[in-house]
Subunit: 134 residues, 4 copies
């Protein structure tokens, strides 16, 4: 099981008037990390749409917000795969600042047909790579 | 148990290049609905911060994305309280378009001290109103 | 020359840790108002794409930020057309809270082919309506 | 006159259902670049607020959108100072993909008191550094 770390800087756009990162924006950070994880495996999602009519969409997620991130924080999104099936895969993702856990999530991502938004099998050359990450 | 419906229009800002609403933006919609629910009970959150140092923050949530919303859709966020404790309360929220369920969530909201972001008791005059909604 | 007013509520998502609306989000508010203005004339942009391969995109804008809007503010976006050509039209838009001007903009919107993102003529049945608004 | 380049990746969150980057999000990209430019000069904006009650806010901007950026694009925000006064400074910013100009802006940033949001003089130790960049 391998872990993928992606560093992110918190900018004004990410915060709200409570003085902290707006809760929905952690989901953006987690998707950036999943996108970069796919890229690190050699998969560009724009090419997957054009060549394989395959788009990855969040099916469901469980989120726990522990401590807030703030403007200018340097945070890390840490991701690893915990489950893979033929049409979906599940991540554990943690957002940390130094050694402090800020937010954690379990995220199930489904493979969809990019035209019809219906479930479809993950192309086998991708599935093989993802299974190697478990 | 009373239900609170809040209508929302989907604009370009809410969508992504997959042609559908970007998943994190459903959380924005759900927070707008919770804000309007509080307003409907007579509570303005800017006043609660100033007068009671009380801010409501999402503690945890479980999300299921069923079908995508699209640009220009008229959707409804339907919310009701399912649990209340002295320092938090839990909503069930559904986003629907006509009779179709697009997204559903269980959202636990905690009362925090607005300066220190630590848990604090919900002021009793608010707690009474929220309990009346269960 | 007719004026189109669209009311908007400021939510947490719109603000930043400076305690005010994040500057880029005023552009979202202005686009919501332009979308509703088009709808008020009878034009749904999702249908214009499908039926006429016509999408409206911002070509250029001049923005002046005068005073900040804050969380929970009820603001109004006031829009009117100041110029129309065969392939673009220009708005003056103001964002006000009560009688206070918060932000003003001149926004030139171009008609583009929705597939190729190249300029194209505004369909005549739309152009006639827009010219009537000048 | 020195130029500051900041690379940015376009993610799903930045795009809209037109298939391109949503116009307001270019402003986010430009602010990230200005934040990193200030950091490169040794100034952390969270410290400037706490230590000097000084916040930088966009006063006005002129934007031209030339060509759209798309999902997964690697773009660069190129910034340089063109004018400095005692209470504001003005940038030229360009967003490019390879050698193609996508968006250009002139952005006037004002120094404000972070509590009252009223204009104030740029602290002299910052002003000296900024003038050195002209």
């Amino acid at each position: 099981m391998s872990n993928f770390d992606w560093p992110i800087r918190v900018y004004y756009e990410d915060t709200d008037s409570g003085g902290v990162v707006y809760h929905a924006n952690y989901l953006n950070f987690m998707e950036r990390a999943r996108t970069e994880w796919l890229r690190s495996l050699g998969f560009e999602q724009d090419e997957l749409i054009v060549q394989h009519q395959c788009i990855f969409a969040v099916h469901s997620m469980q989120l726990n917000f522990r401590h807030p991130a703030r403007f200018n924080d340097a945070i890390i999104v840490s991701s690893h795969i915990v489950n893979v099936s033929g049409a979906s895969f599940t991540f554990k993702q943690k957002i940390v600042r130094d050694d402090e856990l800020l937010c954690e999530a379990t995220v199930k991502v489904a493979c969809l047909d990019s035209n019809r938004f219906r479930p479809k099998s993950i192309p086998s050359f991708i599935l093989t790579e993802i299974q190697g990450e478990c």
